[in-house]
């Protein structure tokens, strides 16, 4: 069975690689960059898609608030949820603690998977156990139970499989029927 770190990297790296393509297509089409908000949501949507493609054994994806971009993977061996969160977002929450609610708070007992991309497009992951404290109405505050522990860093470039091995369909010109040339149809029709 795959390790939780392998599971996360196996979906986040290709999701980011695909996002880079999507952002480039967006720019080429509109001559205007994709917004940071759109990038964040597209990447999370891609990550969910990559998980569905791979369907790693022993893990499942939570569907709660998926439409809002929440990505939570549950390790079925101990039912521990791992919620994706950017380090920037966590820092904002810590800074604003007590002043505003959060969009996605972790489950009662869970682990946050904290990510950051650097300028060289490397993915940095760390994780920390977390819990909800100070629930007041719909406002909740996240408290890290321990300092985050680094999982590692991975380059996005070259992390995905080549995509040029799509289904191939050789061309048929039908020249042989009209005495134009020798039969040009590929033998592997």
């Amino acid at each position: 069975m795959a390790d939780i770190v392998d599971v996360w990297t196996s979906i986040l790296l290709p999701a980011r690689s695909r996002l880079d393509q999507q952002a480039a297509e967006h720019f080429a089409h509109y001559n205007s960059p994709m917004t940071a908000m759109a990038k964040a949501h597209t990447w999370r949507s891609n990550a969910r898609g990559e998980f569905a493609l791979r369907a790693p054994e022993g893990f499942r994806l939570e569907n709660e608030r998926a439409e809002m971009g929440k990505v939570v993977i549950v390790d079925e061996s101990d039912e521990m949820p791992y919620q994706l969160k950017s380090i920037t977002a966590l820092q904002l929450e810590i800074d604003n603690a007590g002043r505003q609610g959060r969009l996605f708070s972790p489950s009662e007992s869970s682990r946050l998977v904290l990510y950051r991309f650097d300028k060289a497009n490397n993915l940095h992951l760390s994780a920390a156990p977390a819990r909800i404290v100070g629930r007041r109405g719909s406002r909740r505050r996240v408290e890290l139970l321990e300092p985050p522990r680094k999982w590692g860093s991975w380059p996005v470039a070259g992390s995905t499989e080549p995509t040029d091995d799509r289904f191939e369909q050789p061309t048929d010109t039908y020249d042989d029927m009209f005495g134009v040339d020798e039969m040009t149809l590929s033998d592997d029709l």
Binding site: G49, L53, R166, F167, T171, T173, M177, F178
Partner: protein, 356 residues
């Protein structure tokens, strides 16, 4: 040929009313109606429609097309599609007669199957006997294999709701299978539709409760034999990724593979639902998309015969209608005025047949 004059067929191709046709012919609606009903002889001058009088006298007979279309498809769209099949078969027979190497139809009707096992046997026969491809290898260029089996492919463009339809057209003592296809779909859907229609042509005379599922089953089993799907399950408990890999090799949609796996009892209903949920984000655009290979033989026949203009003149058929059965481009000029943008016809000059 039937004794039915081409007047109604022309109207259906043009998607116009009897009154509009009467205006083009400089007569009144009741005269057009009477000719169409057989109550009056066809004596009108049709030269400004782009047809010769001889050609306008009768149309080839054809079987009633079975549609792979949505219920919302308009009747006028279905009628036009049917006439495109008829004209495609007619033109193919006449042009193919000039070139002995152009294939004559190898497809034939088979008895209506009594079970899916019969359909699977028929799929093998079609794969090897009709399409002449290996029994257990992917069919790379399905369009070519089908056209080399003497099946005529014509484009069905800008007719919302129709992915494919097919009919047997009888002309000059020949019976040719003709399939109309919407080119504006992903390649995997195009391939399934082609074989779905081949299934109808070989198995069905009329609509039935099981006809669609039999045609789907045949399409899937021609594209990927059951043994190949079973082999995948012998190796592992496949995830969506494995199905995508199979699509990359066999050129068949993931949705069809998952459906096939359930048909064969390789996955239970729970696993089927789970895979369906995982597929939800790709309902319209599956991963590993590829483009369809559009029909090429009829356009090539027209091309080597001089192009749509000369061929139209030689055969006494509207040049524009020759283009309609050979032009697979979706970029046709549309007249959407006053119809909420719905394609209802084309902007053209009737007397010259030139698109404007």
């Amino acid at each position: 040929m039937t004794s039915e004059p081409r007047l109604a067929a022309y109207r259906r191709l043009e998607q116009i009313t009897q009154g509009e046709l009467a205006a083009r012919l400089g007569t009144d609606r009741s005269t057009v109606g009477a000719i169409e009903m057989g109550r009056r002889e066809m004596t009108l001058d049709v030269s400004n429609l782009g047809y010769s009088a001889e050609r306008f006298g009768a149309v080839p007979s054809m079987s009633e097309p079975l549609h792979r279309s949505r219920a919302s498809t308009r009747k006028s769209a279905r009628d036009r599609a049917k006439e495109l099949l008829r004209l495609g078969g007619e033109v193919y027979v006449e042009l193919a007669a000039r070139h002995p190497k152009v294939p004559r139809p190898r497809l034939q009707r088979f008895p209506t199957p009594e079970s899916f096992a019969d359909v699977a046997d028929l799929a093998k026969e079609i794969r090897v006997g009709v399409l002449e491809v290996e029994e257990d290898a992917p069919i790379k260029n399905l369009t070519s294999a089908v056209e080399r089996a003497g099946i005529v492919l014509v484009p069905i463009v800008n007719l919302p709701g129709i992915d494919g339809l097919s009919a047997w057209v009888e002309h000059a003592d020949q019976r040719v299978p003709v399939i109309g296809l919407n080119p504006n779909v992903p390649g995997d859907r195009f391939r399934l539709t082609v074989l779905h229609e081949v299934g109808h042509l070989t198995m069905h005379n009329t609509k039935s409760d099981t006809g669609e599922s039999e045609a789907n089953h045949l399409a899937r089993t021609v594209l990927i034999p059951d043994e190949e799907l079973r082999e995948l399950f012998d190796r592992c408990s496949p995830t969506l990724r494995d199905f995508v890999g199979l699509k990359r090799r066999w050129g068949i949609s993931v949705a069809a593979l998952i459906y096939g796996a359930r048909e064969l009892g390789l996955i239970d209903d729970h696993r089927y639902r789970s895979l369906q949920i995982q597929m939800a984000p790709w309902r319209r655009n599956e991963p590993e998309a590829f483009s369809p290979v559009l029909g090429g033989l009829l356009p090539r026949l027209v091309e080597v015969s001089g192009g749509p203009g000369p061929v139209g003149d030689q055969l006494g058929i509207s040049r524009e209608h020759i283009r309609d059965i050979t032009n697979w481009s979706h970029l046709r000029p549309l007249d959407g005025q006053g119809t909420g943008g719905q394609p209802v016809g084309r902007l053209r000059s009737v007397d010259t047949g030139t698109a404007t």
